[in-house]
Structure formats: structure tokens, C-alpha cells
């Protein structure tokens, strides 16, 4: 398959969408203005800032005397830097005045209320397209908020605590600490010696190697859970200083986080009938009859790992209890005002564009359909259905559809599995008809 220039692709979509908006303005009350995915100046400035900070960090590695340790550290850090720049070039980081206002108003309040942490002021909050609702600290004064997170928090205080938690990771230098721990393990003379001993063995090599490997991974994950507790605590302190009187939300935010991955909406057979019926091609019930999971029984017993020892994060509810006990947080107080409907909707709409930019056409289409069933006349969503289907049609033609669409899986919801099965039930002519159906809605 020929490589697509992502910038040109995004430009094309934006142009198409701009065309839609002039029409949508008249027809609908909510007009979605998609996040600008073509802000070249933003990308250039971000890369410059990142490279400057990365150079500073890289220079600091010269203080490490152990050559091997330093070499591994530099290699790992360079890999991270390359990956970040690639993400920027691919348009995964975006800037938007609306989101900036939402995030920076909270961030500035945190900075202002915590003057003792002067480093906070230089931290940049970045917004990223992503599959999952999440946020993470990158080190070098960057915290990344993934767009779907904005659509999944209940109120601005929950978002504020999540920000505080990630800012705390940066203040505690956890990202660099993790890298250095990795370099330490990989340059450890003791581990090298043990590895050499295993290599020399003729028999039982794998048994000994997996034993050593498990010890390393479990110990690493245990350390990781420890740093999460530290970030929870310092994050709480930052939050409390900035939003006094709303401490109870912190406890509730863990429940929100715990349930964030749970699918809250689904596509039912009736939805397919509404979404995929046209005069030219009525809906066919056999499109959604495929069930390829219920005939199998899946073994859920872990065969190699102890799952609890593998977790990078402690259980959310345990974290809430620990924090509540440590800081005597009262689980009371008035329920804060919900996050604005506009923020939620914009984040949901932009998230489907994000998935498209990430070439996750199957997921983008599924999330678009979930939104479309509630807003059947929305032209932006119709455009996203059309754009995703065109990409999927091309992929099917090239026998690469499985690169962009998941296979049915027992770990997915019934709704998502039905969607995956539906997509693959469609014949060539049927996909073309559906594409035409949505083309006419744009």
C-alpha cells in the first residue's frame, strides 16, 4: 500500500469538514469545530522546546561515571525522544484555544496555590490524540492529557486532581527515575554475571532465564506501584492547596478512574437498522448475525505471570482508601458542578478524529456510530463515517483491513464484537452502497 502523507490527509479532511460547517450552521444547534490538526507553527515550537529541554537532560547524563549505565541511559532516552518527535510530526499533539482554556485555568490555579514548587510554572500541559482516557507525566517539564480523558471525567475537580497527580510525578522526577532504574538493571554487573551463567548452561536455560526475568519485572512493577503512591500523596497536597473545600472529589475521582475503561454505551441491532438502511440498500439482518465467541471457552488462568505482581498501578479503590486514611479526607461535601456539556461533546467528537489520524479506522468508526445514533443528522459525524469507510474499503481491497480493524475478541464488549463482525460481513458492493449513503448526507 502506498504511504499517505499524514499532513496532506489531515488537510483534506479539514477542508472537507469546513465545507460541512457552513451548512451545519443553519441546520443544527451544535456545530462542531474540529481541533486544528494542521497547526504547523505549534508543532515546530513544540519540537524546539522539547529538543531544548531534552538537550539539557542529555547533558546532565555526563555526571554519571559508570560508562555502561550512561550508554544505556542515553540510548533509552534517545529512543523516547525519537518517538515523541515522530508523534508530533504525525499530528498526535494538538493545540486548541478551547481546551487550553479549560486545562490552563486549572493548571494556573495549581501553580498559583503552590509557590513552594517553583518548577511547576515551567511545566507545559500537552493535549494528545489517543485511544484511551488517560494522562501521563513525560518528564522534562511536560504532562500529557489524552483527549478522551476530557470526555470521561465527571467534573473539573476530578480533572484537576488527575493533573496534580501527573504534575507530582514530574516534581518527584519519576519519569527520569524510571529510565535510570531501567539503565541500572541493564548495566548491573550482578545481572550480567547471572545471564552469562545461564547462557553457558546446556539444559534448563529457559527455566533459569524466566526465573531471573520474573524477579526483575516483579521488582520493577513493585517500584512502579510505590511511585504511584508517592504521586497520589504529593498530588493531593497540590490539589488541596489549589481547591480547598473540594477534597472529597479526590476520593470520588478514583472511582471515576476505576470505571473509565468500562464501555457505557452500545450499538444494538436496532441502531444498525437505523444507521445502515437506505432506499438503495435496505438493512440486512444477516449483517449482524455473526457470533464467533460464544462457541468457545477461553482459559483465563495465568500460565506464566502472577497477575497481581505485574500491575504497574495499585488498585484505584485501595489508593483512595490509603489517601483518605493518610490525610483524613472527609468523603462529604456538595457534589461539584458537572463538567460542561460542550467540553464533553467536543472531546468526544475530536476523539473520533484523533482515532482517524492515528489510522485506527475501525475504532474511529465505532465511536462515531455511537455518537451518531444519538445525533443522526450530524453532518460532521456523517463525514467521519464516510471517511473511515473509504479507508476501510481501500484496506479491504489491499488485504490489510486487519491492520486497521480489530478481530473479534472475548475481551471486548458484545457491542464492539458485533460491530467488528458486522464490518466483515459486508460485501464489496454493500460497503460501496453505505459509503454512497453517507456521502449523500454530507
Amino acid at each position: 500500500m502506498a504511504k499517505t502523507n499524514p499532513q496532506a490527509m489531515i488537510k483534506k479532511i479539514i477542508t472537507l469538514l469546513c465545507g460541512i460547517f457552513s451548512i451545519t450552521c443553519i441546520a443544527q444547534s451544535y456545530i462542531h469545530i474540529p481541533v486544528d490538526t494542521l497547526n504547523i507553527a505549534y508543532r515546530s515550537n513544540l519540537k524546539l522546546l522539547y529538543k531544548d529541554r531534552a538537550a539539557h537532560t542529555m547533558a546532565s547524563y555526563n555526571t554519571f561515571m559508570d560508562k555502561n549505565f550512561r550508554k544505556i541511559l542515553i540510548e533509552s532516552y534517545t529512543e523516547i525522544n525519537t518517538e515523541f518527535i515522530e508523534k508530533v510530526n504525525n499530528g498526535l499533539f494538538v493545540q486548541d484555544a478551547f481546551y487550553d482554556e479549560q486545562l490552563n485555568s486549572l493548571f494556573q490555579q495549581i501553580v498559583k496555590a503552590n509557590p513552594q514548587y517553583s518548577e511547576l510554572a515551567s511545566i507545559r500541559i500537552l493535549l494528545s490524540f489517543a485511544e484511551l482516557p488517560n494522562a501521563y507525566a513525560m518528564g522534562d517539564g511536560f504532562v500529557v492529557v489524552q483527549l478522551p480523558l476530557l470526555a470521561n471525567v465527571n467534573n473539573r475537580y476530578e480533572l484537576a486532581y488527575i493533573l496534580c497527580h501527573e504534575l507530582a510525578h514530574n516534581l518527584l522526577n519519576h519519569p527520569q527515575g524510571g529510565l535510570q532504574e531501567y539503565a541500572r538493571l541493564n548495566s548491573s554487573k550482578e545481572i550480567k554475571k547471572k545471564t552469562r551463567e545461564i547462557e553457558k548452561k546446556k539444559y534448563n536455560k529457559a527455566q533459569d532465564a524466566s526465573g531471573l526475568y520474573k524477579t526483575i519485572v516483579y521488582s520493577n512493577r513493585k517500584r512502579h506501584r510505590g511511585v504511584e503512591y508517592q504521586a497520589d500523596s504529593l498530588g493531593y497536597v497540590l490539589y488541596k492547596n489549589a481547591f480547598p473545600g473540594n477534597e472529597g472529589v479526590v476520593i470520588k475521582s478514583f472511582t471515576t478512574l476505576n470505571e473509565m475503561d468500562r464501555e457505557r454505551d452500545s450499538l444494538e441491532p436496532a441502531d444498525y437498522e437505523k444507521l445502515f438502511s437506505s432506499e438503495k440498500q435496505p438493512f440486512k439482518p444477516e449483517w449482524i448475525l455473526g457470533d464467533e465467541i460464544s462457541g468457545y471457552k477461553y482459559d483465563k488462568t495465568p500460565k506464566f505471570w502472577q497477575i497481581d505482581s505485574l500491575k504497574t498501578h495499585p488498585n484505584c479503590l485501595d489508593r483512595a482508601q490509603r489517601l483518605q486514611k493518610m490525610f483524613a479526607i472527609a468523603n462529604t461535601g456538595a457534589l461539584p458542578e458537572s463538567i460542561s456539556a460542550e467540553l464533553k461533546t467536543r472531546a468526544q467528537y475530536d476523539a473520533v478524529m484523533g482515532l482517524y489520524v492515528m489510522k485506527e479506522y475501525g475504532k474511529s468508526l465505532y465511536k462515531t456510530l455511537l455518537l451518531l445514533k444519538a445525533n443522526p443528522d450530524d453532518k460532521y459525524l456523517a463525514q467521519m463515517v464516510h471517511a473511515n469507510l473509504v479507508k476501510l474499503q481501500e484496506a479491504q481491497k489491499n488485504y490489510t483491513m486487519n491492520k486497521y480493524v480489530d478481530n473479534v475478541n472475548p475481551g471486548y464488549s458484545n457491542s464492539y464484537n458485533m460491530f467488528l463482525s458486522f464490518l466483515r460481513q459486508l460485501r464489496k458492493s454493500e460497503i460501496s452502497n453505505i459509503i454512497n449513503q453517507y456521502q449523500s448526507k454530507i
Partner: protein, 537 residues
């Protein structure tokens, strides 16, 4: 440190594309072999079994892991077992999956050892047949067992155990049928050590005469029925499994004469559940000399396809025959011949002997019974030419595979569709290779045919070489491409899919109905990804 990093890579894999199942993620061991698991009734793919070596415990004792996937490549379960395998200093051997048969919730996994780089003259290249059952309800594995003297014998291995050839001469193979049974033939009654390891080139009359019984077994290897054979000391019969469904078992019956294998002129049809002999199909004809080419069970009928020759001393090739029998009564209901002379209008220059020019002919690759009741013949053209081998740097013999023909016949045996598929391929072969051997060793470009859906629409695959330029370039750097021919509601679709890319090689394989399985191997990193792609129709 390298090993740890490598090990880590095996366990965690990359994150480039989440959708595709990375082989390395499924086991911490080294990949050995894989096999397709069919549904009990053989109508569709149920899943896949992957065999990994987890560890080596001693010279001939290994910890093996069997990973079972569903038809969508999701992991169903994995079990590991300590098993013995032959390892000797003088010849390289490897362990492989013989078959994986699903009956209800039980998988019977056949495993054998084989010599690496088998040549035509190898004595006993495949050996040490053993089996493991995997329960798909409890996700447990049985002990390893072997089948010897019509009895199941369990084995347990411990570090330091040694393998002995004295143990393998007496082992019986299990043949997996398309219903809930296995078939197993006895080993020779006398001198098994000598006769099992007979040379395939000098065909052994005595070896087959000494096989006196076969048995049909259930999934627990309990005898369902059996039959004594070769009672007549003056004759020798060789029986071979041919086909089956949930009602009948077809066995090829070959009459042997001294060191010559006579062509198959008879098929015995048994009730697979009771062992009742329903009838014997005698393959003969008043006008032509015919012998078995292949057989199929479909829609209450037994379809027997034959090679067809002239009844004369010279025995000129005349084409193929299609004999139809009622499955219950084994009475013949129809007989047609597809003669080369009748195909001359479709294949320009074709003589009544099936040749084009001096050294070019055609071989049937498949007879497909279509859902609308027609018969589709897939023919592939081939000839031989000597040329310079860039690999061996000597003059060698090449099979020239230039074209394929699809010819469809209606119920009155009239041609209703034909299509020529141009391709260009050249494969190095040994001198004296026969058409049958070319099929056996996968020299032809035609691959296989598979059902697409419940409507019995079908798809077939073949390979072609996309490389252009000099003969040397075409032969040395082939650009393999997959040809895909679909037939949906009677309409043919023709597509090609490159099996190469930047540092990529793609290997196609059997998948669930309507899909092709593509194993994509990155030549630089060695990382392998397996994905399922829907047939584009």
C-alpha cells in the same frame, strides 16, 4: 544482557499494531510448528495449534508448549508437557505436528520427529509418532501416549531419559478422518524393524502383504470396528485412507505385484460407524483404461475422478473421467469423460494426447463441484527445460509453469465457462520427476480451494512470480504474489496480492471460511505477525 533483552522482546513484543497477533507474545518458548484445527465435521476452521519448545531438560528430553487459538487467533489455552524427542549426532532432526484433530471438547494432537532435509531416498524420514490430548473444557493435557499393538501406551519422561529406535518400529500411526474417528493400520506381522524402514524407491511387496488388519477407533482410541486384510498369501493389497464423512469411509485399494505398484482400480466404501462394507467401486471402463485420480463425498454422492488413457499398449493419455455413485447403495449414477480432444477449442494447440508442442502438457489440480451443480476443472500447464542454476551454479532441470485454465462444465458435460490465467514460473526439479511427484512436493503453483460461506461459494489460491527481467533475476529473486480466484453466486472474481514488501515476506495459509491467513515476517527484525483478511468479494 542480550539474552534477557531478547527474552523480553519475545514476551512483550512490539506495540506497532495492536490488532495483529504477534507470535512471540503467545509463548516464551521457541516456535517449532503449527497446524490448523478443523471443526468436528470438517466444514470450517475451528482454530490453530502452535507448538513451542519452552526448555531443554536433557539431550533428548524437552518441555514443549501447545498453544491453542480460536479461528480469530485469540488464545484459547496453552498446556506444557515434558516429552522425549530423538536427537542424534549424525543427522539433524526436528519435532513437528502430524495433525490436530478435534472431537467434541477434545483435541488429539499428533506429534512426530523427522529428519531435516529429507531426500527422495530417505529411509523412514518420519518416525516416533506420539500423541497428547488437550481438554478444551478443563484446559488440561493428558500424558503423552503412543499406539502400539492396537493398544494405547502412556509415557512419562524425566531429565536424562534416552530414546531408542527399538521402541519406534512397533508404533502405529493414527490417521485422522473427517468425522469422530481415527483409522489405524497394523504394522507388519514379521520383522517390523526391517520392513518399517524399507526403501521407498524399491517398493516392498512383502511389507504390505504383512499388514493384516486395520481398525477404526473413537477419540479415546477404543476400537469401534476392525477388519482383517491380506489373508490371501498369494496376493498383496495395499489399503490407504482416501476420504470420509460422518457416514462413510473410503479406502483406496491397490493391488501389488512384485515390486510394482499397480494403479488404483478399486475403492472400498464402508459404513464408518459399523464397518459394514457398503460396496466396492471398481474403476474400469469398456472404452478407456482408467485409474483413480481423486475422490470426493458431496451431497449424497461419491464423485470419483479418474485418469483416462487409451486401451492400447502405448496407453496414450486421453484426459480425465468423472464417475458418480450413490453414497448409500454405491451404485453408479453417472459417468462422463473430459477428454483432451474436447478441450482443444479452449486450449489452443492442444492435441488429443493432452500436449501442446513437444514438451508441454497439462495436469488437473482440482475438480471443484460448484453450488450450482457444475464441475470446475483447474488445469495447470507444465513443461521441462534445462538451464543454468544460479544457486547450484550448474546446469539443472526446470519445470516451466506458464498458465492455468479454469474450465467449467454443466451437468451435461458441456463447457460453459473457460478462462486462461497467464503466469510465469520456473522451478528447479530433479530429473525424471513425475506429475504425481510434482503435486506431492508442491511444485505446481495451484494451492488449494476453500468454501467462502454457507452458500458454498468458494475461493481458490495460486502463486505467481511478479519478478520481471532476465531469467536469472526471475529465478533468483522471485517476487511471489498470491492469485485469488473467488466464485460468489456463480460470478468469478480475480485478484492478486503481493506477498512481498520492504523487508517483508508474507506467507498465506488456510483460515476460517471466507478469509485468508497471512503470516507477515519482517526479514530484518525476524518479528512475525499473523492476521486474517477477508476475501474481497
Amino acid at each position: 544482557m542480550k539474552q534477557i533483552i531478547l527474552f523480553f522482546a519475545l514476551l512483550c513484543g512490539g506495540t506497532a499494531l495492536a490488532q495483529v497477533q504477534k507470535l512471540g507474545e503467545l509463548s516464551s518458548g521457541a516456535f517449532i510448528d503449527s497446524a490448523v484445527i478443523m471443526e468436528d465435521d470438517n466444514s470450517n476452521v475451528f482454530g490453530y495449534c502452535l507448538l513451542y519448545q519452552l526448555d531443554r531438560k536433557s539431550k533428548e528430553v524437552f518441555e514443549l508448549e501447545y498453544v491453542v487459538l480460536d479461528k480469530n487467533l485469540n488464545k484459547l489455552t496453552s498446556v506444557s508437557l515434558i516429552q522425549g524427542a530423538f536427537k542424534y549426532t549424525l543427522a539433524k532432526t526436528r519435532t513437528e505436528l502430524t495433525f490436530v484433530k478435534k472431537i467434541g471438547s477434545q483435541l488429539t494432537v499428533g506429534v512426530n520427529d523427522r529428519k531435516v532435509n529429507i531426500d527422495y531416498y530417505d529411509v523412514m524420514p518420519f518416525f516416533n509418532y506420539r500423541f497428547v490430548n488437550i481438554n478444551l473444557d478443563t484446559f488440561t493435557a493428558s500424558k503423552e501416549y503412543k499406539y502400539e499393538g492396537f493398544t494405547k501406551k502412556e509415557f512419562e519422561y524425566k531429565t536424562g531419559d534416552k530414546m531408542s529406535f527399538d521402541d519406534v518400529y512397533y508404533l502405529q500411526q493414527l490417521i485422522s478422518t473427517k468425522s469422530d474417528y481415527f483409522v489405524s493400520f497394523a504394522i507388519t506381522e514379521h520383522n517390523p524393524e526391517k520392513l518399517v524402514a524399507s526403501n521407498p524407491v524399491t517398493y516392498n511387496y512383502k511389507k504390505h502383504q504383512e499388514i493384516k488388519r486395520f481398525v477404526v477407533l473413537d477419540k479415546d482410541l477404543k476400537e469401534v470396528w476392525s477388519k482383517n486384510i491380506n489373508a490371501d498369501k498369494k496376493a498383496a493389497l495395499q489399503y490407504e485412507y482416501l476420504d470420509s464423512d460422518d457416514e462413510v469411509l473410503l479406502l483406496k485399494k491397490l493391488f501389488l505385484k512384485d515390486k510394482i505398484v499397480l494403479k488404483c482400480k478399486s475403492i472400498e466404501v464402508y459404513n464408518i460407524k459399523t464397518g459394514e462394507l457398503l460396496g466396492e467401486i471398481k474403476i474400469d471402463d469398456d472404452v478407456y483404461e482408467i485409474d483413480l485420480y481423486s475422490a470426493k463425498i458431496a451431497g449424497g454422492k461419491l464423485h470419483v475422478f479418474t485418469n483416462t488413457h487409451e486401451k492400447s499398449k502405448k496407453g496414450w493419455d486421453r484426459g480425465y473421467g468423472h464417475l458418480v455413485f450413490d453414497k448409500k447403495t454405491v451404485k453408479e449414477t453417472n459417468r462422463d469423460f473430459i477428454l483432451w480432444k474436447d478441450l482443444a477449442s479452449t486450449i489452443p494447440g492442444l492435441t488429443e494426447n493432452g500436449a501442446v508442442g513437444k514438451d508441454y502438457g497439462f495436469a488437473a489440480q482440482e475438480f471443484i463441484l460448484t453450488p450450482k451443480g457444475t464441475l470446475l476443472l483447474v488445469l495447470e500447464g507444465y513443461g521441462f527445460k534445462s538451464g543454468y542454476s544460479p544457486l547450484k551454479r550448474v546446469q539443472s532441470l526446470y519445470a516451466q509453469l506458464k498458465e492455468m485454465y479454469l474450465i467449467e462444465f454443466d451437468i451435461d458435460n458441456k463447457i460453459i465457462f473457460s478462462k486462461k490465467i497467464e503466469k510465469q514460473n520456473s522451478v528447479e526439479v530433479y530429473a525424471g520427476i513425475t506429475e504425481a511427484d510434482m503435486k506431492k512436493y508442491g511444485i505446481f503453483d495451484y494451492m488449494f480451494c476453500q468454501k467462502i460461506n454457507k452458500d458454498e461459494d468458494f475461493v481458490m489460491y495460486y502463486t505467481l512470480n511478479d519478478q520481471e527481467g532476465t531469467k536469472r533475476k526471475v529465478s533468483k529473486k522471485p517476487l511471489w504474489t498470491l492469485g485469488i480466484i473467488s466464485n460468489v453466486s456463480g460470478e468469478y472474481g480475480f485478484e492478486t496480492l503481493p506477498l512481498y514488501g520492504d523487508d517483508l515476506k508474507i506467507y498465506p495459509g488456510l483460515a476460517k471460511n471466507g478469509y485468508i491467513r497471512l503470516l507477515e515476517v519482517n526479514q530484518k527484525t525476524g518479528q512475525a505477525e499473523m492476521r486474517l483478511e477477508k476475501i474481497n468479494y
